[in-house]
């Protein structure tokens, strides 16, 4: 045995302290890495909070939440988050209408219908979809989808929410489908066998047994997908435009919270000015929304966890 594992039989024992020291150094190195990323996160939140505080010393939270205009550059500036929030939600809702059904159907197909070979081809393709830089999606929307929309509805703005919704929807299909598929595949085969044994068809087994059994995972994938849609930046900045207006018409241009942050950061907004600070207030709002959605999805997963037997 000793010879096989490379230690000569007659070798003296290694001193334990040397090994302990090595283990300790590695432990500390790993800890520092973990600590560093935590500190960076805390630092970002810290900056967000301090700059937002500076902002809210000048603009009351009530104004921020109830003013219906967002015009930081005007002579008489208004800082109502509503147009930006509405822009974000308009696009997120549109994207959800596309991505949730398509993502779920893709997941059902991959988990219940596709054979191993087909799944082996389709899954990498979906991952490629997830790996395309979001700028590319933005230009795809602007140069391909928008012209198509304008054929159908000529009054469509060049920059419009619908086009952005469609590409963001396509972008988040992989998020929804891969998480939903994991949930579907976690449903035990015995449940499927039980349903088949009662004379159910494949469609009935999939939709009436497997999907309900995986519901918490599916809902969590929906919430994460929507959260990604709200946080999505480049594609919406390019496709939806930068006109902060409170509208529910998807053919018009809107500005999302993320798009505002991009456009304001690109222009030179001097430090310490109110428009500079407004960036952080919007960022903070965005952070709170996506953070809460992530918590919600964790909660759904934990609360409705399927305890299969």
């Amino acid at each position: 045995m000793g010879a096989e594992s490379g230690i000569p039989h007659s070798a003296p024992l290694t001193f334990r302290r040397v090994r302990d020291l090595k283990e300790r150094v590695i432990g500390w190195a790993l800890f520092s890495c973990a600590a560093l990323s935590t500190l960076i996160t805390l630092g970002i939140v810290g900056v967000l909070v301090t700059e937002s505080f500076a902002f809210f010393r000048q603009v009351s939270i009530v104004d921020f939440l109830t003013d219906r205009q967002w015009t930081p550059m005007f002579q008489d500036p208004h800082f109502g988050i509503m147009p930006l929030a509405a822009g974000s939600f308009l696009i997120a809702i549109g994207a959800a209408l596309i991505a949730l059904p398509l993502g779920l159907m893709t997941a059902i197909f991959l988990s219940e219908y596709a054979g191993d070979r087909l799944r082996g081809v389709l899954k990498p393709m979906l991952e490629i979809l997830a790996g395309i830089p979001t700028v590319v999606y933005g230009y795809f929307a602007l140069t391909f989808i928008t012209p198509l929309l304008r054929v159908v509805w000529p009054e469509t703005d060049v920059f419009n929410a619908l086009s952005a919704s469609i590409v963001v929807g396509i972008m988040i299909i992989p998020t929804v489908s891969s998480l939903s598929e994991d949930a579907l595949r976690a449903v035990p085969l015995a449940l499927r066998a039980g349903a088949y044994g009662l004379g159910a068809t494949k469609l009935e087994v999939s939709t009436k047994v497997v999907v309900p059994a995986a519901l918490s995972g599916i809902i969590a994938s929906f919430i994460l997908g929507i959260s990604r849609a709200i946080g999505e930046t480049m594609a919406v900045t390019i496709a939806a435009g930068s006109l902060a207006q409170l509208t529910m018409n998807p053919l018009e241009s809107v500005q999302t919270m993320t798009a505002y942050i991009v456009s304001a950061s690109l222009g030179d907004t001097p430090r310490g000015t109110i428009s500079y600070q407004s960036l952080f207030a919007v960022g903070m709002t965005l952070f709170i929304i996506t953070f809460m959605m992530n918590i919600l999805s964790q909660w759904v997963l934990a609360r409705f966890r399927e305890e299969y037997q």
Partner: protein, 260 residues
């Protein structure tokens, strides 16, 4: 060659008739040219050591092997004069008419009521569903324990209750034949006894084919017993005969506990 003793079908047509049934998993043959007549309204036990092909053979009777990747079935199984493996036979209908209860209780993560209602609903049942649920639970001797909590999750039931729920769920589809694959192997002795009593009741209305590796159980509940060994049918006949006076050496060795 297998010894098959006289199978008394009481002048009725047999419920199922397997002819030269073989099952392959890839290249491996798990069931070897088995002929087996299942008489109607009787309990037939399939016994034999683990891995001898009992479950595989059982799954042939309602085409569950269709769902097992790599499984291939040869031969015929006649059911009311039709070969179940004929091209134009719909396996979904086969499974509705020939139900199955599995080794481990596998209730759906739904309410007790919805576990029962699932089968009838997917089969287009249009009658009194509440009545059917009650009737099926009564047949499975579970009604008294659950009638006041039908909307509770099936997972709240004990293992033995879950298995009776699965039996009730199968009965709710009104099959002619019920296949059971070691239905009590995951249960404690008391729950096992209840299942056995239940099988005794059910054979008045149904034909039952039950896999068991428990010989006492086979002796207690079955009318006929088939002994399988390494994919082959060794001996098939009335249970009493098989346990007291088997013709085959291997059967005797197995039922007296000398191997397996």
């Amino acid at each position: 060659m297998a010894t098959t003793h006289d199978i008394d079908t009481d002048g009725q047509d047999p419920a199922l008739e397997a002819r030269a049934v073989s099952v392959f998993y890839g290249d491996k043959q798990a069931v070897k040219e088995i002929d087996l007549v299942i008489p109607a309204n009787k309990v037939v036990a399939l016994i034999g050591p683990s891995g001898c092909g009992k479950s595989t053979l059982l799954r042939c009777f309602n085409r569950m092997n269709d769902l097992v990747a790599g499984a291939r079935v040869e031969g015929e199984i006649n059911f009311h004069g039709t070969n179940l493996y004929q091209d134009d036979v719909d396996p979904v209908e086969v499974r509705r008419r020939i139900g199955m209860v599995f080794q481990k209780p596998n209730p759906f993560p739904k309410s007790i009521y919805n576990n029962l209602a699932f089968g009838p609903k997917v089969n287009g049942f249009k009658g009194d569903l509440d009545g059917l649920v009650e009737e099926s639970l009564k047949q499975a001797a579970l009604w008294d324990e659950v009638h006041d909590r039908l909307s509770d999750s099936a997972y709240a039931l004990s293992g033995g209750q879950q298995q009776r729920l699965c039996i009730a769920r199968t009965l709710a589809v009104k099959p002619e034949i019920v296949l059971m694959d070691e239905p009590a192997s995951a249960l404690d002795p008391i729950a096992t006894q209840r299942i056995e009593e239940l099988i005794f009741e059910l054979k008045k209305q149904y034909t039952i084919v039950i896999v068991t590796h428990n010989m006492q159980q086979a002796a207690r509940i079955s009318d006929y017993t088939a002994f399988l060994y390494m994919g082959e049918l060794v001996e098939y006949g009335p249970t009493d005969l098989l346990f007291t006076n088997p013709s085959e050496e291997r059967t005797e060795a197995y039922v007296t506990g000398r191997f397996g």
